[in-house]
């Protein structure tokens, strides 16, 4: 009986440790996409500024509360604007930005078609 109890407790704690590690990993992933708005070209993952640290803590807390990435980024965008996202969202403001590379390559293919001879 005692052994089973100890085992259960151990499993419970190890779950927490793993969950914690996973949460840490998830937090770092999100942090890399959030801009440090008081720095020059850094994410809050890279920066040691006060705001960056506070935001990292906040994101960690929200993850622990069970919020997902979208909810967290929505929260930040509500307060700091889209500027805080290093990866621009795909919306009416950015269709051209995201589609441009594909359009350019396709356009390029058509441009160079003329120079190729048929085999």
């Amino acid at each position: 009986m005692k052994k089973i109890l100890i085992l259960i407790i151990l499993i419970f704690f190890s779950q927490n440790i793993f969950a914690d590690e996973n949460l840490d990993k998830k937090a770092r992933e999100i942090n890399k996409k959030i801009r440090c708005v008081v720095c020059q070209s850094q994410s809050i993952d890279d920066s040691d500024s006060i705001l960056a640290r506070d935001l990292r803590l906040l994101i960690k807390e929200k993850l622990e509360e069970g919020k997902n990435e979208k909810e967290i980024t929505d929260y930040l965008v509500e307060r700091y604007g889209e500027f805080i996202l290093l990866k621009p969202r795909f919306n009416s403001n950015t269709y051209f930005l995201w589609l441009a590379p594909i359009i350019i390559i396709i356009f390029g293919f058509f441009l160079i078609k003329g120079i190729f001879k048929k085999n």
């Binding site: 708005v37 006060i50 506070d54 965008v77 509500e78 307060r79 700091y80 604007g81 500027f83």
Partner: protein
């Protein structure tokens, strides 16, 4: 043929760059403008609380500051100047500070605030989209944020504030 397209595209880019040079905003716009104030629930310095109830029925200025913030010292005189020119209520939000240091600071420099909320962790700052301090928000009688000032309120900013307040009170 294709070169004409290239020239037109380049021309378009240059025209836009030219406009950008003149129009470029140096500060970050706040998405909270023209929206109701975020939730605020802080302990105030002199017992009691500072929360959303305190933001009704009058035009207010909210000023994020701290005793460790050097530009805030400069701004402090301008806050008194502003109140002289227009007796507006100013709420201070003490950001990531130490109450002891705050009290000493206020004694030395004076207290322009009707109420001071204590934001020890900085979470209220994040809620209001604060980048750094000092930062101030002008709030109308309906609790809507009408203007945000990033950085020190100086003479120029006072003029802007006064004209905005006039606009609101019409």
């Amino acid at each position: 043929m294709k070169y004409i397209g290239l020239i037109i595209a380049t021309f378009f880019i240059f025209v836009c760059l030219f406009f950008a040079l003149n129009k470029k905003e140096q500060t970050l716009k706040s998405p909270l403008l023209n929206k109701p104030i975020p939730e605020i629930n802080l302990n105030s310095l002199k017992n009691g609380k500072l929360n959303n109830i305190d933001f009704k029925n009058e035009v207010l200025l909210v000023n994020f500051f701290a005793s460790w913030c050097v530009p805030c010292i400069v701004e402090h005189d301008f806050l008194f100047e502003l109140k002289k020119q227009k007796p507006i209520k100013i709420y201070g939000i003490n950001y990531k500070d130490d109450i002891k240091n705050l009290k000493i600071w206020l004694e030395k420099l004076g207290n322009p605030y009707s109420k001071i909320g204590i934001d020890e962790t900085g979470i209220t700052g994040i809620n209001w989209g604060v980048n750094g301090i000092p930062e101030s928000f002008l709030i109308d009688q309906n609790g809507i944020i009408r203007h945000k000032i990033s950085g020190v309120i100086d003479e120029k900013q006072i003029k802007i504030l006064l004209s905005k307040i006039e606009l609101i009170e019409k």
